[in-house]
């Protein structure tokens, strides 16, 4: 997975990499420069920082100087010895050789600083020089870092900073450079990687590889890029399903076209072979051409509905009235088969919809019911509006054989045919009805009635705001 082949990384990676690296570098250099300068000035201040300059120090040093003059070294030594374990700044008294009276450790640099300050006469209050009777000269002061002086731990001989501290810090600079390089590379790679996966996904989708899955490659990543990957997968899946449905439909259509064509061929063959029966053959040919025409029309309607390219003109009309006219038409067809269509009259129900599509849907469902009801039996049609008046429910039940429970949703698939009635229609009627209802935001379901027969139920929103 972690392939660092340069040509695979892509432009985006390099852009991100340089942007991040540049900003990191700027930050590192900036912080480094501030730090270095701070340290540089601190080194210059270090000379004074060797001595405690606080207010109390003035008093302490003055008192110690007075004691030294009055009582000599022994008096001062006694005082310092007595108070060394208390929280009390120790006053150093250092002779010319740099030795404290209590031989407390003192770094050379500190001592140099103190001597320099004493020579220059700076801070006379905090650094006092006392000429003792024994001929020695003592410099009294309180070392800065000895505020909480600990006798057991000797001070660092070189002081708080290494001697070369004033030089440019080479090692930290190199470390900073390397780590910024590494961090920017990792960050850029991390950001650019999912985009590369997405690109590969689009590429394979464009090459008709519909089983493309990007989110798998993204792993357990949780961010907007991973979301994008999941959305991509959803889209690819959607396209795949649509394509499969289209291919299936095309296959079914070509098969359905073939049957009337085969019958046409056979009828023509018969006409040639038996010129005496030419009239029967021509009748057949006419019938087959009619069927072909009907099939092509239905396929076109369905594909328009599927594509959503309907010139759907919505208007307000009375659904009850429309239903009654469809029933009238169906009764004509049904009476030829001795099938009754029973309908319980209801009040007017106004809806706002595409009347032509709804008419088509109802007609298809009702004709389907007539086809499947054996002679002598009846069809039941009911219509009602819901309690809040926002929906209309419509049910059409036949007394036919029904369908197997597993096929209750398949009856709305194009070219579905229940077993044993291959000669009736093309199996497009209910598919068209479903699409027409769905276009209006309604739903259509089929169920087997316990007493036998298939019931198709439609729920339609009235569409009136």
């Amino acid at each position: 997975m972690f392939s660092l082949r340069i040509e695979h990384l892509g432009r985006l990676f390099w852009k991100l990499f340089f942007a991040i690296w540049l900003s990191q570098l700027t930050a590192v250099i900036g912080v480094g420069a501030v730090f270095w300068m701070h340290r540089y000035t601190k080194d210059h201040e270090a000379i004074t920082s060797s001595v405690s300059l606080h207010g109390p120090a003035v008093r302490e040093v003055a008192a110690s100087a007075a004691l030294l003059r009055a009582g000599g070294i022994s008096a001062l030594r006694d005082l310092e010895l007595e108070t060394q374990h208390e929280f009390h700044p120790p006053v150093y008294a250092v002779n010319e050789q740099g030795i404290d009276i209590l031989e407390r450790p003192l770094s050379l640099s500190d001592w140099d600083n103190v001597q320099q300050l004493a020579r220059e006469g700076r801070y006379p209050q905090q650094i006092r020089t006392v000429q003792e009777n024994d001929g020695h000269r003592y410099v009294l002061f309180i070392p800065e870092h000895a505020q909480q002086f600990d006798l057991k731990r000797p001070q660092h001989p070189e002081g708080p900073f290494p001697p070369d501290a004033t030089l440019l810090p080479v090692l930290p600079v190199i470390m900073g450079l390397l780590s910024s390089l590494l961090i920017s590379a990792v960050l850029a790679w991390y950001l650019a990687k999912p985009i590369r996966y997405l690109r590969a996904g689009f590429e394979s989708l464009a090459n008709n590889q519909f089983d493309t899955q990007v989110s798998l490659a993204m792993g357990r990543r949780r961010d907007e890029l991973a979301d994008l990957g999941r959305e991509f997968d959803r889209m690819a899946h959607q396209i795949t399903t649509l394509m499969a449905a289209q291919r299936h439909l095309l296959h079914d259509v070509s098969h359905e076209l073939r049957s009337p064509l085969a019958r046409l061929q056979a009828a023509i063959g018969l006409a040639r072979q038996q010129p005496d029966k030419i009239d029967t053959s021509l009748d057949r040919i006419e019938r087959e051409i009619g069927r072909l025409d009907e099939l092509v029309g239905e396929v076109l309607t369905l594909s328009r509905l599927e594509a959503g390219v309907t010139h759907s003109v919505k208007e307000e009309f009375d659904l009850t009235e429309l239903l009654e006219s469809v029933i009238e038409d169906a009764r004509f067809e049904a009476s030829a088969k001795n099938v009754a269509v029973n309908y319980l009259e209801n009040h007017d129900i106004q809806i706002n919809a595409d009347a032509e599509l709804i008419h088509r849907a109802l007609e298809n469902i009702l004709r389907n019911a007539v086809k499947h009801t054996p002679p002598g039996l009846s069809i039941q049609v009911e219509i009602d509006s819901s309690l809040d008046g926002r929906q209309v429910s419509l049910s059409i039940s036949d007394q036919g054989p029904g369908v197997v429970d597993e096929q209750l949703t398949s009856v709305f698939e194009p070219f579905f045919r229940g077993s044993g009635n291959s000669q009736i229609g093309f199996g497009l009627g209910l598919a068209i009805a479903r699409r027409a209802v769905e276009v209006h935001g309604g739903s259509i379901t089929a169920r087997n009635k316990p007493e036998g027969g298939l019931q198709i139920e439609l729920i339609l929103p009235n569409g009136l705001g």
Binding site: S254, H255, R258, S259, L261, A262, R263, L264, Q265, A266, A267, I268, G269, L270, R272, Q273, Q274, R284, R417, S419, S422, Q423
Partner: protein
């Protein structure tokens, strides 16, 4: 045996084809589903079965498989034009030939006649043909390979017979098509290759691991003599 069993779920089409074929001198029985088709095909009353591939319930392919389990009766499949998968599958399962649907009843009658002609014995056919491990009895229409009976469909039998008669010589696909299927080879037609591959599977391989039927690229097939 001029009796044809017609299996097609399209009742109207089947009736018309039956009418046509009867007038053409065949005895025809039409049935409308695969299951009945299988039972009738195995009844021994028919010389050939004409069967539609696309049928609800038991498909033509499945019905063909069931027939082939018990009988080598010639089977002619009706397949949709362009349904190459169905066609190849049908030939692999032992169909003797296929007729695209829709095609004219005249074409169908010609194909049926061609298959029947090939399967019916005539006096000129030699009684015995023996090449290497293969012994064929064209009159009785049975074949023996390495002392074991070979189960061949009639088309496979015809193709093997042509190649055995010309053993050691390359037989081109057109010759094979004329002799085996009774029609010239159509463009892009893979039926011969499918039949040959099916025969290959029924023969053992040579001691050197090669098949007894060799493909000569661009020319045809050759049956190895020894």
């Amino acid at each position: 045996m001029n009796n044809v069993l017609l299996v097609d779920d399209d009742v109207e089409l089947a009736e018309m084809l039956a009418d046509y074929l009867r007038r053409d001198g065949f005895g025809v029985q039409a049935v409308y589903d695969g299951a009945t088709g299988v039972t009738d095909a195995l009844s021994g009353r028919y010389g050939i079965v004409v069967m539609d591939v696309m049928m609800p319930g038991m498909s033509g392919i499945e019905a063909l498989g069931r027939i082939r389990l018990q009988s080598q009766i010639p089977v002619l499949m009706l397949t949709g034009k362009g349904d190459d998968i169905d066609r190849i599958l049908g030939l692999e399962l032992g169909a003797d030939d296929y007729v695209p649907k829709p095609s004219s009843p005249r074409e169908l009658a010609a194909r049926i006649r061609a298959i029947l002609r090939r399967t019916q014995t005539s006096a000129e056919i030699p009684e015995l043909l023996s090449v290497g491990l293969l012994t064929m009895y064209p009159q009785k229409r049975n074949a023996i390979w390495n002392d074991q009976a070979l189960e061949l469909t009639s088309t496979e039998f015809n193709l093997l017979e042509v190649m055995a008669r010309n053993a050691g010589r390359v037989v081109n696909k057109n010759e094979l098509s004329e002799a085996g299927l009774g029609r010239p080879l159509a463009r892009f037609d893979r039926s011969i290759d499918v039949h040959i591959s099916s025969i290959r599977q029924k023969l053992d391989v040579c001691p050197n691991g090669q098949s007894y039927i060799q493909t000569v690229r661009g020319r045809g097939y050759v049956f190895i003599k020894d």
